[in-house]
Amino acid sequence: MKRKNWYLTVGAALTAVMAAWTILGFFWTPYDPSARSAADKYALPSLAHPFGCDYMGRDIFSRALEGAGTTLTIAAAVLVIGFVFGLLIGALCGYYGGAADAVVMRLCDAVSAFPSILLALVAIALLGRGKYNIIAALGVLFVPSFARLVRGEFLKQRDRDYVKSAKLMGVSDLRIIFVHILPNTWPVLLSGLTIGFNNAVLAEASMSYLGVGVSPTEPSLGYMLSESQAYLLKAPWFTAFPALVIILLILGVGLVGEGVRGQLGVEP
């Protein structure tokens, strides 16, 4: 008997809405996100400004639209870097094993032993600021967790009968890795990806919140939160709406991950 997978349905719907909303922000915002207006300082949420206005009279709805775009772009880029390199390293280490595996994995352990935000801060201090440096720094920091995940799956699969028979038939190692084993690891990788995505969104928000993220002229959700903290009691909507957007973004993707695990019968 198959129960309806509510996680997947709700998560997918929420993610679709948030994605559509974010993509809209690339093309259209009701106001110029950096247009200031002395008359609208601290304006309450209203029909004209659904999310209210901030301390410079800028429309928070427009800024949240553009900010979500910035945040999502960075998160996606970080995820791609972390995932591609993590997959390569994890697959090779898991499949071949041996001394190289041990060394690489200890390196990954060493990187993961530091709080990743701290390492990212060090990287930004060395590389300098900017969108691309953040992507590079966070991307590299996301490699070890994916590498470990992929390696674990490959370790599980490499001694299975189908791999052994493929080897006997003389299939090349690369083909075994990417054509035979990889598809069998998708369920785990997919849920890993959703968790990774959420971490990437939060990491970008944290970096911007700490003031080492994107340029202040470019709205991002984390930077909006950082700006808003001085006005928490005066204009709570300034904090509430960017935070709400972050929550809905990661909640949607988190539910999708949960749903995928349930659907494919993966142990969480």
Binding site: R36, S116, Y209, L232, P236, T239, I247
Partner: protein
């Protein structure tokens, strides 16, 4: 009902934080420093700080003390607090002048080179010992570099910033209880310099940092770094005694320092907070809120030595392109005071308010000047901002947006405060930067002489022959009114040459608990927090 809506939204924020921190936890690999971070400011001292005696207050300060040695204090926030423990031969008065303290009066020789100070009768240190000529000689010599290879440790005593040569030729005992100081060059402002030369007991240089003994209205009780400094009323004080029996300065540091202080004010565990950004005005509970200025000049400081800013027309064009009233409106709710030059309004004797009217926004003129300078289509530039000062960052953002109108494409680059000090201020490796520059004493000299071309603090590399001449003359003249005119001329040159885009003196707040008498708080036009006048209603 806006109030209800406000509450509902606040509730939503709290719920959001909770949810965000929970979500972050399921992620597993990363510590959550994200949206839940403001919740850390909940780590407040829960019990009121001061042992609740009848007549004691707790003051919040947003900076740790770098030392208790009054001669070696670098941070303005430290000198401000130590004002209550130490005095010089003279000390600052609220109106921007100096008043006699450990010295009862002084004479100046006609050539302006010899100062003879007469010590006040009956001044005692906190340990009960009377202040002697020996103590004063020791203190002045120490300030003049007696324990520092002859390089003065009070910066205004330095004559030549390159070699560290001292302004002071000799410090000797005179007749009876007199001390005679001889200068290498005349300095009308010398008494002002002495406000930083605090009198400490003879030969206490090694112990003064841990056992600060001075002659001020309060004496030292205890100091815990990162936590608090406690002082109590000194009964043997020579002047008007303090009204309070005990004062605890509670130290708040880190990114959430201001938020923590505001919450502590609301909770009643702090009685007095100074230097609060005025955006917090309606969040501080029911105490008295006094408005003040920060006594600094916030400006878009321009590196005059790099292209295209070495052309005065480019700097003037930028000044015409920006809208200072809008900046003031955006970054401090309209409460800042426009300056127009390197002088802050609290310096009433020198401040020229009309200079703030010179460059009103005029985009046509700005474009014309840019075209004349050879940049009809504008150019790309960077604005470096210290990321820990939200108001400077915001100012940079607004300026960058305003400059777009004349085709100048400015990128705002935030840097850590330490990087700002080493790379921008000391290294002079920048194009433009938004920051605030303040004076360490009340002289016009501090704000103006620093921009003479070869001065070590001239981080904007300003270079103008007339300016050098005017400031050099202003320093050595013996005619007070001539000095005033020369300093004012220097202010005008900085404005005419648009040496930087002078913006404003930012607004700040002093908040007192409802039990304290708001009229008893004394404002000074320099960094002084005088607790001796503060009293309960």
């Amino acid at each position: 009902m806006p109030k209800l809506l406000k509450r509902a939204l606040l509730l939503l924020v709290v719920a959001a934080m909770l949810a965000a921190s929970l979500c972050a936890c399921t992620g597993g690999t990363r510590p959550s420093t994200g949206p839940s971070a403001p919740a850390q400011s909940g780590e407040l001292p829960t019990q009121p700080g001061a042992p609740d005696g009848e007549n004691s207050v707790t003051v919040g300060i947003a900076q740790d003390l770098d030392t208790l040695d009054p001669h070696k204090a670098v941070n303005a926030g430290t000198s401000e607090v130590l004002f209550n423990l130490f005095e010089g031969l003279v000390k600052a008065s609220p109106d921007g002048g100096v008043i006699p303290a450990v010295a009862s009066d002084w004479d100046v020789s006609p050539d302006g080179l010899t100062y003879t100070f007469t010590l006040r009768e009956g001044v005692t240190f906190h340990n009960g010992d009377p202040v002697t000529v020996e103590d004063v000689l020791y203190s002045l010599r120490r300030c003049n570099g007696g324990e520092n290879d002859g390089v003065p440790i009070v910066s205004s005593f330095i004559l030549d910033s390159a070699t560290g040569e001292s302004l002071i030729r000799s410090i000797e005992a005179g007749e009876g209880n007199q001390v005679v100081v001889t200068l290498a060059e005349p300095r009308l402002e010398f008494p002002y310099f002495l406000t930083a030369a605090h009198i400490i007991p003879a030969d206490s240089g090694d112990t003064i940092g841990s056992d600060p003994i001075g002659t001020g209205p309060f004496s030292f009780v205890s100091f815990t770094p990162q936590e608090s400094l406690v002082v109590k009323k000194y009964d043997g004080y020579w002047g008007d005694p303090a009204h309070l029996d005990e004062v605890t300065f509670r130290i708040y540091t880190g990114a959430s320092a201001v938020n923590s202080m505001v919450m502590a004010l609301q909770a009643g565990s702090l009685d007095l907070v100074i230097h609060l950004p005025n955006t917090y005005a309606d969040q501080v509970g029911d105490g008295a809120v006094l408005q003040s200025t920060m006594k600094l000049v916030q400006a878009l400081y321009i590196n005059n030595a790099v292209k295209p800013f070495d052309d005065v027309r480019v700097r003037q064009a930028m000044y015409y392109a920006i809208d200072v009233p809008e900046i003031i409106d955006m970054v401090c709710d309209g409460a800042g005071v426009p300056t127009g030059t390197s002088m802050y309004p609290a310096q009433q004797r020198y401040f020229l308010p009309e200079l703030a009217e010179v460059y009103t926004q005029d985009l046509e003129k700005a474009r014309q000047l840019l075209a004349d300078a050879g940049y009809p289509d504008g150019f790309d530039m960077t604005i470096t901002v210290p990321s820990n000062y939200a108001q400077h960052v915001d100012t940079g953002v607004v300026i960058a947006d305003q400059l777009k109108a004349v085709g100048i494409n400015a990128e705002v680059v935030p840097v850590e405060w330490e990087t700002w000090v080493s790379a921008v201020y000391r290294g002079r490796d920048f194009q433009t930067t938004v920051s605030g520059i303040s004076a360490s004493d009340m002289t016009a000299r501090e704000m103006l002489v620093r921009y003479a071309s070869d001065h070590s603090k001239n981080f904007i590399n300003f270079s103008d022959a007339e300016y050098d001449e005017v400031t050099a003359k202003a320093q050595t003249t013996l005619d007070e009114s001539e000095q005033m005119e020369l300093y004012k001329r220097a202010e005008q040159i900085l404005n005419e040459q648009a040496a930087s885009l002078w913006l404003q003196d930012l607004c700040e707040l002093v908040v007192l608990s409802p039990e304290l008498d708001p009229d008893s708080f004394t404002f000074y036009c320099t960094y002084v927090l005088d607790m001796s006048s503060v009293r309960f209603k």
